[in-house]
Amino acid sequence: MTTSGLLLYARSRTLPRTVAALAATAALAVWAAHGLDAYLDPSRRVPVVALAPLAASALIGASLYSASDELDRTAVRPWWRRRLVHLLALTALAAALLPWAVLGHTSSFGPPAMIRNTLGCVGLTAASAVLLGARLSWLPVFAYVSAVYVAAAGVDGGSVPAWAWLMQPAGERGAWLVALVAFAAGTVLYLLRGARAEGTRD
């Protein structure tokens, strides 16, 4: 039995379970991408490149929930450090695991696109955890990603607008910019404010 503070913190945020679920998501993504025959056309990977980061960000968002929010707020330790480590560690893990599903095709829908989408989705989830609470943080991101997924499929080729960053090949600089801004904004917001207090109400 250990009583090391950081380990207790990790357990209080169900991090072991989240890490296992992230690994399972990555395995599922590898399995799903395998059946897409992406060697014919890398854009067939778009569903995996959009949905796997979405699922990973939902897991990460849910792990931001604290059952003892009221007590946490009386802590002496500055929270931002723990929040930063928490968010970055899980994001890094997701960004390291998910690209294995889409090896190759680095300029279109390969590992770089997967990493970009993971960063962007985590940023959005962190921001919605601050605004809505961690347990429901998946909802706005789900609505957004799925709407973009369907909408961008129908948008005339050429210049896809900034909101469709998820669906663009990795070569697009604009999409990277939007994703990185989303990640940075979500992270900073979460570092400063933490997830919204929820109590036992919904």
């Binding site: 039995m1 009583t3 357990r11 003892s68 007590l71 946490d72 707020r73 009386t74 002496v76 500055p78």
Partner: protein, 266 residues
């Protein structure tokens, strides 16, 4: 020399005013915080616990202004808090949960294990220290909450409804613990139970409609109950409580209420 000094405190919940230019001091000892539901007791405790930010006014705890965020750590290190809605991790053992709070309070790692055991023993859970919180009864969970609040030997202790869910025997033990803690620390206990106040508190503060309606010892409140006419209650403190509330509502300010009551008593 008061350990807690509150001046002109103003707290809002969305549109309603929870506390309205409240001035109050607390020194060492056990202070009972009484008042009807919605009077602002929890708001006051949460501001003192540095969990809620006031809309206006100044709060000094142990000589530090809690509005100064750089000094907040020093205040919190010497503060213990049991929230009304006390969230916990069901998968943690009692030892782990209390140790987690000790870690949040930045207690030295070397001192933590013994401090945890001491705090758990003080609430009478020594034999359940390695049991998961999920396996404990409601009263035991409450005592875990008390243990986490005292683990850092705080100089200021804030308990919001600590005796809810405790059986009579446990309540008696808890009052004893309160008296003990009150010898070295400033303890503020929000409660609905006048027995707790009568048995454990050195001073009573009655809050109503966001203002202080009465301050005095439990004995003076009981004396007020003895002399007041036409108030109901099963014991002198309850009658005193009702009389003080009624006077405050009739006159609208604490100062006036006290003056009028003194006049009545004479």
């Amino acid at each position: 020399m008061p350990t807690i000094r509150v001046t002109g405190l103003h707290v809002r919940h969305r549109k309603t005013v929870a506390l309205d230019s409240l001035d109050v001091d607390f020194g060492p000892g056990v202070h009972g915080l009484l008042g009807p539901n919605g009077a602002g007791k929890t708001s006051l405790i949460r501001v003192l616990a540095t969990v809620a930010e006031p809309a206006g006014g100044r709060v000094e705890i142990l000589g530090e202004d809690t509005g100064d965020h750089r000094r907040l750590g020093d205040v919190r290190r010497r503060l213990g808090y049991l929230p009304q809605d006390f969230g916990y991790y069901p998968g943690f053992t009692v030892r782990e949960f209390v140790a987690y709070v000790a870690w949040l309070k930045e207690m030295p790692a070397a001192a933590t294990p013994s401090a945890v055991e001491r705090a758990v023993a003080r609430v009478g859970l020594a034999d359940r220290i390695d049991a998961k919180v999920r396996t404990l009864s409601g009263g035991m969970v409450r005592r875990v909450g008390i243990a986490q609040a005292i683990v850092n030997a705080p100089q200021v202790l804030l308990f919001d409804e600590p005796t809810a869910g405790l059986d009579p025997e446990q309540r008696v033990e808890f009052r004893e613990l309160l008296r003990e803690l009150g010898t070295s620390a400033t303890v503020i206990v929000s409660t609905h139970l006048v027995e707790d106040v009568a048995a454990a508190c050195t001073e009573v503060t009655l809050v109503d409609e966001g203002r202080v309606a009465y301050r005095g010892t439990p004995q003076s409140l009981a004396a007020l109950g003895e002399t007041a006419v036409g108030v109901s209650g099963d014991n002198p403190i309850e009658r005193g409580y009702t009389a003080a509330l009624r006077a405050h509502r009739a006159h609208g300010s604490a100062a006036q209420a006290v003056r009028t009551l003194e006049g009545t008593a004479r």
